[in-house]
């Protein structure tokens, strides 16, 4: 029997255990590893002051460039202290999860510090963050490649980890091991069910577990980079999802589940089947009756999503859905390739009202083609849908940080068509201060103006807008760094 320590780096949720680690623990165990989990993300929140955690999270999220000197020292000393335990454990393998781009800064710090220690085992790193990079617009090398080149880790797993990890532990080759050319897992039903036995649920802030029903998306929205992670949409069977929920309910006494999917209803038929199975089981078995779930959902018209689907979701325990509406202007949504009409939004809201399904609406202010008339559509819809906010059907409305462009998204790739300069921007993970020759009135300042107007109206009409403090603070930071001259220069270059 070999030993492994698995580390979850910030920044992830503290509501529930890491689903990423739970997914790979069965792979370690079937390859004769005994596993210990260290959730540094959770321990950070337990061992630092709330305001310190807030600063560290802002730093991780790239909205704060540098930590204050004292806090940086404290954080590095804390990491070193944690490493002492890891090094002295003499385990065969250290596996580190870099969950997203927002884990890269602390990952760099972690591995730089670990490089000075005399850890004798093998160091493996994985997670979506290893495929990303900071300074995305100027740096083509991923964080994982940087770590490999610097010899700070022995192996990097790019892309989905389950099959690659299994091969790595058996000394076999597989795409995605140490090379950023992973292949997608075809059949999600073949993967082992996540194993949470090594987590102490009482330490997490909510008794809730994550579940993955699909990977990828059925849409190709122009602003979204999900296709980079999962080029194809892959759906688990309804039966398999249902069995996992029931098993985890009975094994861990967990009733609340959160789907990690980009969209839970990518396959409408499978989604209906899943809800049917769960609703029926809940009606028959008292042990299951309190099961509920949340997830991200795609809006479609009535032809595609019949009323029965919403009814089954209600009886299956759907407690909240997050929907990327993005804009209440149909024309803007068409440009985004969202592929649903205003009538579809009306229908969706009617059904959610009928079955008390709360929605979090995700919005984007200032898409490159958004005109003042489109902005007015947003303002009008906020007024029109007030009743749904009053009744909790629009449970929350998120206007976000204004339109920003991520590298390698369809929009980024067609920047020339939109006459958007993609070179000039800042050191953040996306471009915020772009301007398009096709819609010159919509510069960053105008986007912020519209964002604030929507904030004011939404607040006055009683909408709940979560995390607004952070968002407004970030907008103010962006605004402070914004230089009008930069755009003017871009204009001159573009015109020339």
């Amino acid at each position: 029997m070999k030993n492994a320590i698995l580390v979850n780096l910030p920044l992830t949720e503290t509501l529930y255990p890491s689903a990423s680690l739970a997914a790979i623990i069965p792979i370690f165990k079937t390859n004769n590893y005994q596993v210990e989990v260290i959730d540094l993300n959770l321990e950070l929140t337990e061992e630092f002051l709330p305001e310190e955690v807030d600063r560290i999270y802002s730093w991780c999220e790239l909205t704060l460039e540098n930590l204050e000197y004292d806090l940086e020292i404290k954080l590095s000393q804390w990491l070193e202290y944690k490493m002492q335990y890891i090094v002295s454990s003499n385990v065969d393998m250290l596996g580190v999860s870099v969950f997203s781009i927002y884990s890269i800064k602390i990952s760099k710090m972690f591995f730089d510090l670990l490089g000075d220690k005399k850890f004798t085992g093998s160091i493996l790193v994985g997670g979506n963050g290893v495929s990303s990079n900071l300074n995305a617009t100027t740096n083509n090398k991923s964080h994982g490649e940087d770590l490999l080149e610097s010899k700070l880790v022995d192996h990097v797993i790019f892309g989905e980890g389950e099959q690659s990890l299994n091969c790595l532990l058996q000394n076999k080759q597989h795409p995605g091991i140490d090379v950023n050319t992973p292949i997608q897992i075809e059949n999600l039903d073949t993967l082992p069910k996540p194993d949470y036995t090594d987590f102490d649920f009482d330490r997490y802030h909510d008794r809730r577990l994550l579940i993955t029903g699909s990977r990828g998306c059925v849409r190709k929205c122009t602003f979204c980079d999900i296709e980079l992670t999962w080029p194809k949409f892959r759906q688990r069977s309804a039966q398999s999802m249902f069995e996992e929920i029931v098993e985890h309910r009975l094994k861990y006494n967990i009733n609340k589940f959160e789907f990690t999917d980009s969209l839970i209803n990518g396959s409408v038929s499978e989604w209906i089947r899943f809800n049917d199975l769960l609703a029926n089981a809940k009606a028959k078995d008292k042990d299951l009756e309190n099961i509920s779930y949340t997830g991200q959902f795609i809006c479609r018209d009535e032809q595609s999503q019949k009323p029965i689907m919403y009814e089954l979701m209600h009886y299956a325990g759907c407690r909240q859905i997050t929907v990327g509406i993005e804009s209440f202007s149909e024309s803007v949504r068409n440009d985004m390739k969202k592929k649903f009409s205003n009538a579809a939004i009306d229908y969706h809201l009617e059904q959610c009202a009928k079955w008390a399904i709360p929605n979090i609406f995700l919005m984007i202010v200032g898409y490159p083609t958004e005109t003042l008339a489109d902005h007015q559509s947003n303002l009008d819809a906020v007024k029109r849908y007030k009743i749904y906010s009053d009744m909790g059907v629009i449970f929350m409305l998120r206007w976000g940080l204004t339109m920003h462009i991520y590298k390698d998204t369809p929009l980024f790739k067609s920047a020339n068509d939109y006459k958007i300069d993609i070179i000039k921007d800042n050191n953040l993970d996306a471009l915020y201060s772009w301007v398009s020759d096709l819609n010159p009135g919509l510069d960053f300042l105008e986007r912020v103006r519209r964002r604030i107007e929507l904030h004011e109206l939404s607040y006055n009409l009683g909408y709940h807008q979560p995390n607004t403090r952070n968002e407004l603070q970030s907008i103010l930071s962006l605004l402070n760094e914004y230089t009008v001259e930069q755009n003017k220069k871009t204009w001159i270059l573009e015109q020339a």
Partner: protein, 136 residues
């Protein structure tokens, strides 16, 4: 105003508005009443006793706690009035706050409840917008 109740075992249902009683035909385990005005409150008597019917008002499935509906063995007492939806919203906000416990962390309140205007941040942003605009 449309008021509807549903329960798979529902046999009889009668609504009382301003001392007037009106029965409803039970169709697909549900009873529906069209009320031509907004009453201050209504009572719905049902059989069999002891069931908890689902309740819709104007096609909104109603949460009994948020709507302050009193459920008795054989009837629902539903305060309505012109401010029904406003009161529902207020209770909803109170419920969200209460779910965070006593003296919740303001950051968590902002994240979960999200009913702060953040006047000083809005002012700062507007000031900065003016400043940058004047520069251009």
């Amino acid at each position: 105003m449309i008021i509807k109740i549903f329960h798979t075992e529902l046999r009889n249902a009668e609504i009382q508005i301003d001392n007037n009683n009106e029965k409803s035909e039970i169709k697909d385990s549900s009873a529906t009443w069209m009320v031509p005005y907004v009453p201050e409150s209504v009572e719905i008597m049902f059989e069999p006793f002891g069931i908890t019917p689902k309740l819709w008002i104007d096609n909104f499935l109603i949460n009994f706690w948020l709507a302050n509906v009193q459920q008795q063995d054989h009837k629902l007492i539903i305060p309505i009035g012109n401010d029904f939806f406003d009161r529902y919203w207020v209770r909803d906000g109170q419920g969200r706050l209460q779910s965070l416990g006593v003296n919740p962390d303001p950051i968590l309140v902002d994240k979960i409840v999200g009913r702060n205007f953040h006047q000083s941040l809005v002012d700062d942003i507007k000031f900065k917008l003016d400043e940058k605009r004047n520069l251009s």
